[in-house]
């Protein structure tokens, strides 16, 4: 069955509560700051928001339900989306359908997390029952170790090298140097990347994201309402999600995008060569490469050649993770699932300040989340276009 289009839906007001390495604030503060920024950006009042999508790890034990009372809201649609790195596009999908159905008129989508000395370890130790019982006791390497195992197999299967991973990381750092919101802006050369200390081989320091605190958000509403509010907006040309794809693959060398990419591009009415920028979920460069393959930018197993053929900086042949990605901006928990979407929105709205991709009309955004046991379970992607 073919999914209906997202016609009539407007995507507007990308906001970010600036990331910080550590914070004394709780997750609710970061989420509330993103909400406040959405109101300021749209000139709406809090009661105008009648739909809410929330994602956070450190809001625990609270959920979106508790958050409504925390910030005094009475939404008629409420989504709690614990899909980690896939949550931004999934929030967009939920919000867009709620708006199309008339279940809500203006949906605020927000993700945010705090970070302190113990929050990351606490999160890892009890991330899921499978992780707690069957992964964490084996050295407690966290996602660095789990994705190192995937990277180990991927490198032998495809011929990918550390230089290929480094090409992506170095280009993202160059992009981050033009983004005042990026936490990591020091120069990164390929030599420095290669000389970094090992963390979980083959992953070294610059393959790994730095946990931090922060929040991101955006609004979804009918186009007519966005016009009436004089808010510049984007269209959603296509969007997909998938959970626990290919469960019989012994190692995750492909994600759910491979199941849904044809539907994505058919719904969008354009192809991979028609986007001017790509925002992948870069918890590790190898995962960005799985997305290039899964979303049809190159054939399966051929991302190493693809990486060698392209330049991924703002002025390069394929601008990728144009704000620096998580590798250079930091990973603010569930906000990492919003970062690429919010950056793509800024690019298409012409608000990317010193890092604007010239004449960007279409963007591909991809999400990946939740390493429940040995692989990430949630995948999502969207194609966005200027209105």
């Amino acid at each position: 069955m073919t999914a209906r289009s997202y016609d009539g839906v407007a995507l507007c007001c990308p906001v970010t509560e600036p990331y910080v390495r550590r914070s004394e604030h709780g997750a609710a503060w970061f989420l509330a700051r993103a909400l406040r920024r959405l109101l300021d950006a749209s000139n709406l009042a809090k009661p105008d928001i009648d739909g809410l999508c929330v994602s956070s790890f450190t809001l625990h034990p609270d959920t979106a339900v508790a958050f409504t009372q925390y910030v005094g809201m009475s939404p008629r649609v409420l989504e709690w989306l614990p899909m980690g790195g896939a949550c931004g596009v999934i929030a967009l999908r939920r919000a867009a359908r709620a708006v199309q159905a008339g279940d809500a008129e203006i949906v605020a989508c927000i993700a945010g997390d705090t970070a302190n000395e113990t929050s990351f370890r606490d999160l890892l130790a009890s991330f899921s029952s499978f992780a707690r019982d069957a992964v964490y006791p084996y050295g407690a390497g966290g996602p660095n170790a789990s994705f190192a195992l995937i990277a180990d197999v991927y490198m032998r299967a495809t011929g990918a090298t550390r230089e290929d991973f480094g090409t992506l990381a170095v280009a993202q750092r160059a992009n981050a140097q033009r983004n005042r919101l990026a936490l990591l802006r020091g120069e990164l050369t390929l030599e420095k990347y290669l000389a970094a200390r090992p963390i979980a081989e083959p992953h070294h320091l610059f393959d790994c994201v730095m946990p931090c605190a922060g929040a991101d958000g955006f609004l979804v509403m009918p186009e007519a309402r966005a016009r009436a509010l004089k808010l510049p907006f984007l269209r959603v040309l296509g969007a997909i999600e998938r959970h626990n794809a290919f469960p019989d693959d012994p190692v995750q060398l492909r994600g759910g995008w491979a199941m849904d990419r044809d539907a994505l591009w058919a719904q969008a009415g354009i192809g991979p060569s028609d986007v001017q920028l790509v925002e992948t979920y870069d918890d590790y460069p190898v995962i960005s490469m799985l997305q290039f393959e899964g979303l049809g930018l190159c054939p399966p197993g051929e991302a190493p050649g693809f990486v060698r053929r392209h330049e991924f900086t703002i002025e390069g042949s394929l601008p990728h993770n144009t704000g620096g990605g998580q590798l250079s901006m930091g990973q603010a928990g569930a906000s990492g699932g919003y970062l690429g979407l919010v950056e793509a929105m800024r690019q298409l709205l012409g608000k990317a300040e010193g890092r604007q991709v010239v004449s960007a009309r279409h963007a591909l955004v991809s999400g990946f989340g939740m390493i429940n046991y040995d692989r990430g379970l949630c995948t999502s992607a969207a194609v966005l276009g200027r209105s």
């Binding site: 019982d133 032998r156 012994p250 190692v251």
Partner: protein, 101 residues
């Protein structure tokens, strides 16, 4: 003893343990026990960083992904000599955890 779950209805083996069979949703699950189980090494990493202080004196640790001949995939500690593609025996080690050599 190392134990794997096997479904009494459809015969599927699974790990990590569950209260139902992930293939057919039966809850008639039996335990198969052995002193060690044959497996193949899929992947290997050397950990130079751990999020748990108790592991830090033992770094670097070698951790791998193995596929039991019975089908399921497990994360386990790996002997220094075990490399991807190798046939190994997986047993329960001193920490009550899986070790492959």
């Amino acid at each position: 003893m190392i134990r794997l779950q096997r479904c009494a209805d459809c015969g599927a083996a699974q790990y990590p343990p569950r209260e139902v069979c992930a293939a057919c949703l039966s809850d008639r699950l039996a335990w198969e026990s052995a002193t060690s189980l044959p497996a193949r090494v899929l992947a290997r990493t050397r950990l130079h960083h751990s999020n748990e202080p108790r592991f830090r004196p033992r770094l670097p640790l070698t951790v791998g992904l193995v596929q039991f001949d019975a089908g399921p995939v497990a994360v386990c500690f790996l002997a220094e000599t075990a490399a991807p593609g190798d046939a190994v025996q997986v047993r329960i080690g001193a920490d009550d955890l899986l070790e492959a050599a």
